[in-house]
Structures are given as structure tokens and as C-alpha cells.
């Protein structure tokens, strides 16, 4: 099944708590089941996005790192 990304949030260069806070804000605008992609450079965002996904129930489908850019793919709950 291919994943259709409805929104990409570029949060490269921002430190904690901006990546999580902006993601949460943007997630409010989405409908359940929609997929959002977030790009960040904050190394702390890896454990933080995992924890946020656990806390909010928005599923972290995958996270990868390429050249210091972390990419998180999330499905709205």
C-alpha cells in the first residue's frame, strides 16, 4: 500500500520544542487517517517524536535520517 502524504512540514534548523509544537498545531488541521511528513534537524526530535506519537496516538509510520535531516511520517489519529 502506497502512502499518500497530504502535508509536509519543514522544521529544519529549529530546536526543541518547535518541531513537536508546530507538528501538533498542524496536525489539528488534518483529518483522521491523513499522513503528514515532518523534516527536522534537531537530534532530540527522534526520541521526542516517538514519545509524542505514544502520548497522542498519532502513529509514527516511519522515521529515517539522511544527511542529518530527520524525516518523520505520521498518520493522524
Amino acid at each position: 500500500m502506497s502512502v499518500v502524504i497530504s502535508k509536509t512540514l519543514d522544521l529544519k534548523g529549529f530546536a526543541c520544542p518547535i518541531p513537536i509544537a508546530r507538528t501538533a498545531g498542524a496536525m489539528k488541521e488534518m483529518t483522521p487517517g491523513e499522513i503528514m511528513e515532518v523534516l527536522a534537524t534537531d537530534p532530540g526530535s527522534v526520541p521526542d517524536f516517538t514519545a509524542w506519537s505514544k502520548a497522542t496516538g498519532n502513529e509514527l509510520i516511519e522515521h529515517t535520517v539522511v544527511d542529518g535531516v530527520y524525516r518523520f511520517v505520521l498518520r493522524k489519529r
Binding site: A21, R22, G25
Partner: protein, 174 residues
């Protein structure tokens, strides 16, 4: 037996829901304390937790509008506002302040590392639905009026409101 377990599970769930919030008592008005206060509050709201900051004593000064300089009705309150510049742009560090050089360097470092300023975090907190409650008693004591403070705050309230909100929630005094 089975109903007992179900009832216990239900009670635990209710307790969990009640315990899910975060209440921060923002007592200190210093840059290095307002910063973590706002970082924790915005993150907590982003995690979907009901979040409240109760601003009291020195913690009220960062909430003063940038274009309001002298506050208070009498010379003591006015002197206080002269000595303690309100707003997020004039906050001091709790250590290594060096007459304002410390905060200037800290802000420069923050910018270089992509750390949002207290002003940006206040806006973010508002947009994420953090309830920000100024303490009525200390506002009166220090001579601060509602119109001296930024928009988007809850109505000023007292310790009872703060403690009721804090009941069962995670609490921090910063």
C-alpha cells in the same frame, strides 16, 4: 470478580484522565526560568494535555506589553517597574547577568541554535491552547493592571483557582 476488575480499571482510567494535565506556577520572571516554563507548557499542550500556567509575583513581569514602561499607582510600585523592566525583551538571567551582557549573549546563542525566543513561545503557547492565568493578588500588590498585560490571557484569578486546576495534575513551581 470480573466486574470488580472492570470497575477498578474504570477508576484507574478516570484517575489517569484527571492526572493528565500540567500546571506550572511561574513565580520567577528571569529569562532562564521563563524559557523552560514556556518550553514545557507548549510541549505539554502539543502532547494533548490540558496545560495551565499560573503567573505570580516576578513571573508577571514578562507578561507586560512591550509598549508599557512604567506601571503602578504609587511611587513604590512605579519604582519597582523602573528597576524591573517588564516584557519578554528585557528579562535578566538568574546568574551571569553581567548588567545585560549575559542575556544578550544567551539570545545570540539561542538564535544560532534555532531556539525560539520567549516571545515566540508565548505566541505558540496561546495558539496551542495553553491557559495562562495571571495572579490577581500579586497584580494588585505590584501595581499591574489587566491592560498592562498582553492579550490572550485568562481572567486574573487567585490561589484557589490555581490549586483547583492543579488538583491531580502534574505541578511545577518555577
Amino acid at each position: 470478580m470480573k466486574t470488580d476488575i472492570l470497575e477498578a480499571e474504570q477508576a484507574l482510567r478516570e484517575l489517569d484522565e484527571k492526572n493528565d494535565g500540567l500546571v506550572i506556577f511561574a513565580w520567577s520572571g528571569e529569562l532562564d526560568k521563563i524559557w523552560p516554563t514556556l518550553i514545557l507548557a507548549t510541549t505539554s499542550a502539543a502532547m494533548g494535555k490540558p496545560t495551565t500556567i499560573f503567573f505570580t509575583f516576578w513571573g508577571l513581569f514578562p507578561l507586560i506589553k512591550e509598549d508599557v514602561r512604567i506601571t503602578g499607582d504609587n511611587w513604590m510600585q512605579k519604582m519597582l517597574s523602573v528597576m524591573n523592566h517588564g516584557g519578554t525583551e528585557h528579562l535578566k538571567l538568574s546568574k551571569m547577568n553581567f548588567g545585560g551582557m549575559g542575556p544578550a549573549m544567551m539570545k545570540k546563542l539561542a538564535k544560532a541554535h534555532g531556539v525560539a525566543s520567549p516571545h515566540e513561545l508565548l505566541d505558540l503557547a496561546k495558539s496551542l491552547g495553553v491557559k495562562m492565568v495571571p495572579c490577581q493578588m500579586t497584580m494588585d500588590l505590584l501595581g499591574l493592571k489587566r491592560e498592562d498585560l498582553i492579550d490572550g490571557l485568562e481572567e486574573p484569578a487567585g490561589a484557589t483557582t490555581a490549586l483547583l486546576e492543579a488538583s491531580g495534575a502534574q505541578t511545577l513551581f518555577i
